[in-house]
């Protein structure tokens, strides 16, 4: 049984009367307008990446005078782009996978299993969200140093193995799934792990998709902890490389934007792929039977 099943996408109800059609067109115009506004930072980034430095610091102008790909060439060669991208990809994929497993297991336990101290432990999980990174920095770094995990991939992966937001999200999602499914599985004699694997996981498509998108993106764009922990230039991630173009006074805007544009592509792809699973009706698909 596939973990993620797509129901048939709902069909748009056609507009009947001219009034309805007009209203619909206006709504779409509004939506496109808003979408355009939301995309403007991206357009500006692309536009800046095609300009020269002197041109990019002048006024706000969406169209470059002499578009050129020079900044992209510069960005790809000024630091070990391929290596940094590979590092970012490795870390993002590994950590996302770890989170998917641990968050769904833990979320299921917090939502459905009864064990003493469950609510208190859950508050503890929430408590971890309340501690600013700046406060954690020194003790965490000291621990990693003492355990020889600084300048290693493992050190960074370890602290990101499970994020409280993901655990929280999975729990909330599992709470909304009707109990009938588990009860049916129990009658069939399934143990907890089997129920988790064969019943809960398949129904958790949208939540798993959300975890995938958010975790991948979070790790891919993260700057603070990778720089502090990884330390070894051969292990650096893409954001660290991109920050090379940021100066205190002399930021190299075209190259910075070019690198940022390239960096956004994988995250955008992950989003586009996994947002397909946000299709209403998956829960309904399982009710019958």
């Amino acid at each position: 049984m596939a973990i993620l099943e797509e129901a048939a996408p709902p069909v748009e109800i056609p507009a009947r009367t001219p009034v309805e059609r007009l209203r619909r067109i206006l709504v779409y115009l509004l939506l496109f307008g808003v979408a355009f506004l939301f995309f403007i930072p991206f357009f500006w980034s692309v536009s800046t990446s095609l300009k020269t430095l002197t041109e990019s610091v002048q006024g706000f102008d969406l169209l470059p005078d002499n578009p050129s790909l020079k900044a992209y060439r510069e960005a790809l060669t000024s630091f070990n782009f391929a290596r940094y991208t590979a590092n970012s990809a490795f870390l993002a994929v590994t950590i996302t996978f770890a989170n998917l497993v641990l968050a769904s297991l833990g979320g299921y336990a917090f939502a459905r299993l009864r064990f003493p101290g469950r609510e208190a432990l859950f508050m503890l999980v929430l408590a971890t969200l309340m501690i600013p990174d700046q406060l954690r920095l020194v003790p965490v770094f000291q621990m990693l140093t003492n355990w020889g995990l600084v300048a290693t991939y493992q050190g960074y992966i370890l602290i990101k193995l499970i994020l409280a937001e993901n655990l929280f999200l999975m729990r909330q999602y599992f709470l909304t799934i009707p109990k009938d499914f588990e009860e049916a599985a129990k009658l069939d004699g399934a143990g907890y792990f089997k129920t988790y694997r064969k019943v809960m996981l398949p129904l958790a498509g949208p939540a798993l998709a959300a975890v995938t998108i958010l975790t991948f993106q979070g790790i891919w764009n993260e700057f603070f902890w990778p720089l502090i922990i990884l330390q070894d230039e051969s292990k650096y991630t893409l954001p660290v490389g991109i920050s090379n173009f940021v100066g205190i006074y002399n930021t190299q805007w075209p190259e910075l934007m070019a690198a940022s544009v390239i960096a956004i592509v994988p995250v955008a792809l992950i989003f586009l792929v996994f947002q397909r699973y946000f299709i209403a009706g998956i829960a309904a698909a399982g009710v019958k039977g």
């Binding site: 430095l53 002197t54 610091v57 000024s78 700046q134 920095l137 020194v138 770094f141 000291q142 140093t145 003492n146 600084v150 603070f224 720089l227 502090i228 330390q231 230039e233 920050s243 090379n244 173009f245 100066g247 205190i248 006074y249 002399n250 190299q252």
Partner: protein
């Protein structure tokens, strides 16, 4: 015969005693037992820095490469840290810091007090390193109250006055040399509308600029011994009134008012004819605003000449595992050859008098005898946060100058009393 024997025994005993003392003293010092010649030192060390610009990083790589050619037995791993203080403090706390690193003069009093920097006096003595070429005021920025040295300045820059030449020609003005002349010149620039869409002067709500004017008026934040706060004094108030007065009369604008991030950008976008920035504005203009012509001049004089010195040192970590190698790198980077390469592109001024800067830096160098390092006492970062915020409130007319100075004085006095806590 007996007496001579006794003398011999006495001398031998003294010699033995002396050598025991010397040996004991040696083992107690931080330096390795035998002073190694730099060429004999070997090891792997880490150099940490922040990256002001890609050009600078490339230059640093170059300097390190020439160092490794000169001393092939020492390997240097260069690490650019961002954010710098967070990363450094975490590494200090974990007792595994980089061996050699940047220390900004502003944080030097605190880092010295925290005990993370290696005092260098014993090394200076051992390796007979000559510190005389360093400009005295810059070197003192990295001394503690007892005079011990904790780093050597790697470069520096004071403030100077940059004037847009075409606007100056349009208004028919010459570079002002006193406060009064600055007023007149600004009036003239405004009257002739020489700065369309901007203001004659760009002034930031920043004590890192205002303090230069305070020094020019014989005022200061602290007394010479750094035991008393002297903020709430007539000298400081008059200087502030002059500075803020330029703004009130419309002769100056803040970067925010002019629509820029800092005054250097105002110079570049021709929103101001006169700005007060350091050497860093020159490469900035050369890279981003090549078509704007401007000239550099020393800052105008108040009751006396006064200026700020922004400097950064190379220092050694107290917890460094290879101090001899770190020392060799340190003295190369701040030595004649290393500094010459480092300042060859004009990104910063040499902090040694025996290294000449690139052409056109005369107005900056002129401030060397009297520029005072941008630093205060341990724990003063909090005072400067209050000072900066109060100044911006004054600029927005939400606070009086007298009120601001009283507040800063109170904060400074409390910090000094707490001993920098």
């Amino acid at each position: 015969m007996k007496r001579r024997m006794r003398t011999v025994w006495l001398v031998a005993a003294c010699a033995l005693f002396a050598s025991v003392l010397a040996g004991g003293a040696q083992s107690r010092s931080d330096v390795a037992a035998a002073p190694l010649a730099p060429d004999a030192v070997s090891g792997n060390i880490v150099l940490a820095h922040w990256a002001s610009s890609p050009t600078e990083t490339a230059l640093l790589k170059q300097v390190i490469q020439s160092f490794e050619r000169r001393y092939p037995r020492i390997q240097v791993t260069r690490r650019a840290l961002d954010p710098y203080p967070d990363s450094m403090l975490a590494q200090f706390a974990a007792r595994k810091p980089p061996d050699v690193f940047y220390v900004d003069s502003n944080v030097a009093p605190d880092w010295i007090k925290q005990g993370v920097l290696q005092p260098l006096n014993s090394y200076i003595a051992r390796y007979k390193f000559n510190t005389k070429p360093f400009y005295p005021r810059l070197l003192s920025a990295f001394r503690d109250s007892k005079g011990r040295i904790y780093g050597f300045p790697k470069d520096w820059s004071p403030l100077a006055m940059q004037i847009n030449t075409s606007m100056a020609a349009r208004a028919g003005i010459r570079a002002p040399q006193t406060w009064a002349q600055l007023n007149t010149v600004a009036d003239r620039l405004r009257a002739t509308n020489a700065v369309p869409g901007g203001r004659p002067i760009c002034l930031a709500a920043d004590w890192a600029r205002l303090l230069a004017f305070v020094y020019q008026n014989k005022g200061s934040f602290l007394n010479a011994a750094k035991t008393r706060a002297t903020v709430n004094t007539v000298a400081v108030r008059r200087a502030t009134e002059f500075y803020v007065g330029l703004l009130r009369r419309g002769l100056a604008g803040t970067p925010a008012q002019l629509g820029v991030g800092w005054c250097g950008e105002a110079l570049g976008k021709e929103k101001a004819a006169i700005v007060f920035e350091g050497n860093w504005v020159l490469p900035f203009m050369a890279e981003q605003f090549t078509s704007v012509n401007f000239s550099n001049h020393p800052m105008p004089m108040g009751r006396q000449k006064g200026n700020l010195a922004f400097t950064v040192s190379y220092s050694m970590a107290k917890d460094s595992k290879n101090k001899n190698a770190a020392w060799v790198l340190l003295t190369y980077l701040t030595g004649k050859q290393g500094m010459r390469t480092w300042t060859s592109k004009g990104l910063a001024l040499p902090s040694r008098s025996d290294v000449k800067p690139v052409a056109g830096r005369g107005p900056f160098l002129a401030a060397a005898p009297y520029a005072r390092a941008w630093q205060f006492a341990p724990g003063f970062n909090r005072v400067m946060t209050v000072a900066g915020n109060e100044l911006s409130a004054v600029f927005e007319e939400k606070q009086t100058i007298a009120g601001m100075l009283t507040k800063i004085q109170a904060e400074a006095t409390a910090t000094l009393r707490r001993g920098g806590r």
